[in-house]
Symmetry: C2
Subunit: 451 residues, 2 copies
C-alpha cells in the first residue's frame, strides 16, 4: 500500500480548524505553520472566512487546487459528510483524528464510514488517532502542541504505535534524549490502514533503518505474519506488546477495542516473523538505537575496555547473563599491549585501563581489540569523571567506529558533562548507553538479529 | 564505630597538596574551598610555604590547632611517615586516598600500615578510595573536580561504594537526576573501616533514610550479617553485588582484591539480612527513591489512574508480572465516581481518565481511591503531552500525598516540559518514574520491605 501522502503530501487540507487556539484542528494548523511546512496548506471551516491570515474554505471541494492529504478533526457525527466531500474531490488519503467510533461502541458509524471509504477508494489512518509525523519532510499532523510534545530530529527509527498517548509520551522522551526518527504513526482504530500496511511501507522507506511497534492487538494475523516475515529480512522490527497479562488484556478491550489474546500466541507470532520482542518500554528504544547505528557483528565474543573496575565487572556479569561470550584476546597481542601500558593496567577481559587512563591509552587498547581475531564486539566504558580522560577520546572512538570493522558500543554514566560528550559521540554514529545492562541487552539483540 | 569525623569534622588537614592544580591533593583542596567548607582547613606540603593564600605546614604535627580529620593524598611509600605524624598529633580519623597496597600486590606495606594504625588507634577510610561526601555538612573529600562530578543536593539516600569509579559515575548521574543524598563513602581497600562499620553508622544517622551498597566482596561475613540484620529493621538497605558471574568474579580479584564468592552465597546472605537486592545499577536508585519518599503500604492492591490507555495497560502487565494485585474498588464508590465523570472514562482498573483529562478529573479519581478500603497503593500516570492537563495537577497530587494515607507513585514519560513538572513533584516528596516498569518494580520492593 502506497502511504506516501501520509508523510510527503505536497498539498494538505485541515478540516475543522477552529478559531479557538485550544481546539485540536487549530493546534494541528499551528503545528504546520510552526514546522514551516513547505507544501500548500488549506484550512476548511464553513463558519469563518479566514484563520491566522489563511483563507478558510467552506468544504474540501471548494479548494481550487488538488489536495494530496486531508486531515479531519471534526466531531464524529460530521465525519461522513466530510468523507463524501473528499471522495468527490478525488482525495485518496485522509487522516481521521476524531474519536467516537467502535472504541465507544459506535459500530454502526464505523460500518457506514468503512463502506463510504470503500466506495471512494480512500485510505484512512485512524480514526481515533494522533496522526503522522515525518522528521525529514516535516509533515506533522500530530494534534499536540510543540511546547508539550517536542518533535525529534532526523534519524533512522520509525515508530508505529497503536496507542496515541504512549506514542506521544515516547516521542517526546526520544526528542529529549536526542534519538533520531524517520517516521511516526499513531494509527488508532485502523479502519483500513493497519499496522501491517504501515510496516510494509516502512520496509521500503529508505530513511527507516529500524521499525518499532507498540501493539495491543493485531487484527489480521496472517497478513501481519506474511508482511513482517519479509520486512524483517530487510530491517529489524522491534515489538512491544501491551496487554500480556490477563488483566492487561482485558483493559485493551476498552482502550483500542482489540482482543489482545494470550501472550504466548503473540510470542509465537513474533518469533515466526523474526520480530525482536521488547519486554519493556525502555528496552524498545535501546534496542532500536543499537540496531539503527551498529554494523553487524561476526560473532558474540565481547571485549570490555574500561577506566572503572566496577563497571567492567558489571558488564562482565551482564555479558554472561545475556548468553554472550567474553572474548579472549590473542596472548601475543596482549603481551605487546602490556609493553605500551603502565603495569597497573589489567591485560585481561575486562581490560581495566584504570582511573588515570587518558585518550592515548584507550587508543592503543581499542586498536588492538579491533585487530584481534578473537574479538567480535568492543564494549567501551568511558567514565568522564576523571579529568585525565579528555574529550578528544571522542574523536578516536569516532575514527575507529567509522572504519566499520567491528561494532563499538559505549557505556557512560554521569551528569551534564557526561551527557554532553555522550550526545556528541552518538551524533557521530556510536551507540551510547547510560548503564552496563542496557548496552549488553542491546548487544544481545544485535547478535540475535544478525547471527 | 563512631565515624562522625569522616562526615562532620570541624577541622581538616589535607596532606599532599601540590601547587599543580591537576594533582589529586590540589583538587581536594579546591573542592573544599568551592564547597565553602565551614570548618578550619589546613594544607600540608613541606616544600612550599603557601598554596592559594593558605599557609602550608611542613607536617600534620606542625599545625597549631587540633585536627579532627586528615586526608592523605601522597604516594604510597610516604604513607607510613604521615600516619606516624598523625598518631603523634593524636589524630584519630584519616582518609587515605592513595593507592599502591594489596590491589597491586603490596601486602607488606598493607601489613605495616595496619600495625601502625592499631598502635595509634587510628580509623582509616581507604586506602585506594575516592573519599567521603556529606550533602548536609558539605564535607567533601572526593578527589574529582566539580565540573566533572557534580555533587548531589541534600536528601535521604546514602551510598556506600566499594568501587570508586562506579561510585563517582553514579553520584554524578544522581546529581543530574536530582536525587537527594545524605552521605557517600567510597571505602576502597577497607583497611580497618569496612562496609559493615559504615552501614552500622548510617543506621544511626538521622539524615539517612535508605542505604545503598555496591559491593564486590564482603570480608567479614558474620559481622556483616549481624550488623545488617539490625540496621535493616530500622531502614532499608539495597545492595548491588558486582561479580555475580564466574568471569565477573575473577575480575574483582584484580579490582578490589576481594574474593567475590558464588552469587548464591551472597543471595543467601542478603536474604538473611533482609537486604533488598538490586540486580541492575538502574534499579538501585529507583528502589532507593521510592523507599526514601514513600510511606508504608498496608497491602499490595494497586489502583492505576491514567490519562493514557496504553500506559495503563503496560502498568497492569507490570503489576501482574511483579506479583502485585490490581485493586478492585468498591462498586458504590465507582458508581458515584461515574456520575462525576464524562461517559468515556473507564471506571475500572486501570481507570482511564482519557486524553482530555484535566486536573479536576484526577482530583476526583485520586480522592475516591484514597478513601476506598480496597485500595492500598495508587499508581498515577500523568502524561503531560496533552494541553488540558495543566501543571496545577502537581498541587493536587502533593496535597493528597501530604495526607500520608496511602503511597502515591507517579509515572510520567516525556521531554523537557515533563521533566520540569516531574522534578517539581519529586521535590514535594512524591516518587516519580519515567517508565511504568520502573515504578512497579519499585512498588514491589516497597511491599517486600514493609509487608
Amino acid at each position: 500500500m502506497n502511504l506516501d501522502n501520509f508523510f510527503k503530501a505536497k498539498s494538505v487540507a485541515i478540516v475543522g480548524v477552529s478559531i479557538n487556539p485550544e481546539k485540536i484542528g487549530h493546534v494541528i494548523f499551528r503545528n504546520f505553520l510552526d514546522a514551516n511546512f513547505r507544501g500548500r496548506l488549506f484550512v476548511v471551516n464553513p463558519s469563518v472566512s479566514e484563520i491566522l491570515g489563511h483563507e478558510s474554505y467552506k468544504t474540501v471541494r471548494a479548494i481550487p487546487y488538488h489536495v494530496d492529504l486531508v486531515i479531519v478533526a471534526v466531531p464524529a457525527n460530521l465525519i461522513l459528510s466530510v468523507i463524501k466531500d473528499c471522495g468527490k474531490k478525488n482525495v485518496k488519503d485522509v487522516i481521521i483524528i476524531s474519536a467516537g467510533f467502535e472504541e465507544v461502541g459506535n459500530y454502526k458509524l464505523r460500518d457506514k464510514l468503512k463502506k463510504l471509504l470503500d466506495c471512494y477508494g480512500i485510505r484512512v489512518i485512524g480514526p481515533n488517532c494522533l496522526g503522522t509525523f515525518d522528521a525529514y519532510s516535516k509533515l506533522d499532523s500530530l494534534f499536540l502542541p510543540r511546547y508539550r510534545l517536542t518533535r525529534p530530529h532526523e534519524g533512522g527509527i520509525s515508530f508505529v504505535c497503536q496507542s496515541g498517548a504512549a506514542g506521544s509520551a515516547l516521542l517526546d522522551l526520544a526528542s529529549k534524549e536526542g534519538y533520531g526518527f524517520a517516521k511516526f504513526v499513531s494509527y488508532g482504530n485502523a479502519i483500513n490502514v493497519d499496522e501491517a500496511d504501515i510496516i510494509e511501507y516502512l520496509g521500503n522507506d529508505k530513511e527507516t533503518k529500524v521499525i518499532c511497534l507498540y501493539v495491543e492487538g493485531i487484527k489480521e494475523g496472517n497478513k501481519f505474519v506474511e508482511i513482517c516475515k519479509k520486512v524483517s529480512k530487510k530491517k529489524p522490527i522491534i515489538a512491544l506488546k501491551g496487554g500480556t497479562s490477563e488483566a492487561g488484556s482485558k483493559a485493551t478491550l476498552s482502550h483500542t477495542g482489540s482482543l489482545a489474546g494470550a501472550a504466548e500466541v503473540y510470542e509465537g507470532v513474533f518469533r515466526q516473523c523474526n520480530i525482536i520482542r521488547a519486554h519493556y518500554l525502555e528496552d524498545m528504544f535501546n534496542y532500536a538505537r543499537i540496531l539503527e547505528k551498529s554494523i553487524a557483528p561476526r560473532g558474540k565474543r565481547v571485549q570490555v575496555i574500561t577506566n572503572g573496575g566496577g563497571y567492567g565487572i558489571l558488564c562482565t556479569d551482564a555479558i554472561i547473563e545475556n548468553n554472550l561470550e567474553m572474548a579472549e584476546m590473542d596472548k601475543k597481542v596482549l603481551a605487546s599491549l602490556a609493553k605500551q601500558m603502565p603495569p597497573i593496567v589489567t591485560m585481561k577481559n575486562p581490560m581495566d585501563l584504570v582511573g588515570d587512563a587518558d585518550t592515548n591509552r584507550y587508543k592503543i587498547a581499542i586498536e588492538a581489540a579491533l585487530c584481534d581475531k578473537n574479538v567480535d564486539i568492543i564494549l567501551l566504558i568511558l567514565l568522564y569523571q576523571t579529568p585525565l580522560l579528555t574529550p578528544d577520546v571522542i574523536n578516536i572512538v569516532t575514527e575507529f567506529n567509522n572504519q566499520k570493522k567491528k561494532p563499538i558500543i559505549v557505556v557512560s554514566t554521569g551528569g551534564e558533562f557526561t551527557e554532553l560528550l555522550k550526545h556528541s559521540l552518538e551524533e557521530t554514529g556510536v551507540p551510547c548507553f547510560t548503564f552496563p545492562e542496557q548496552a549488553v541487552k542491546g548487544i544481545r539483540v544485535l547478535c540475535w538479529y544478525y547471527l
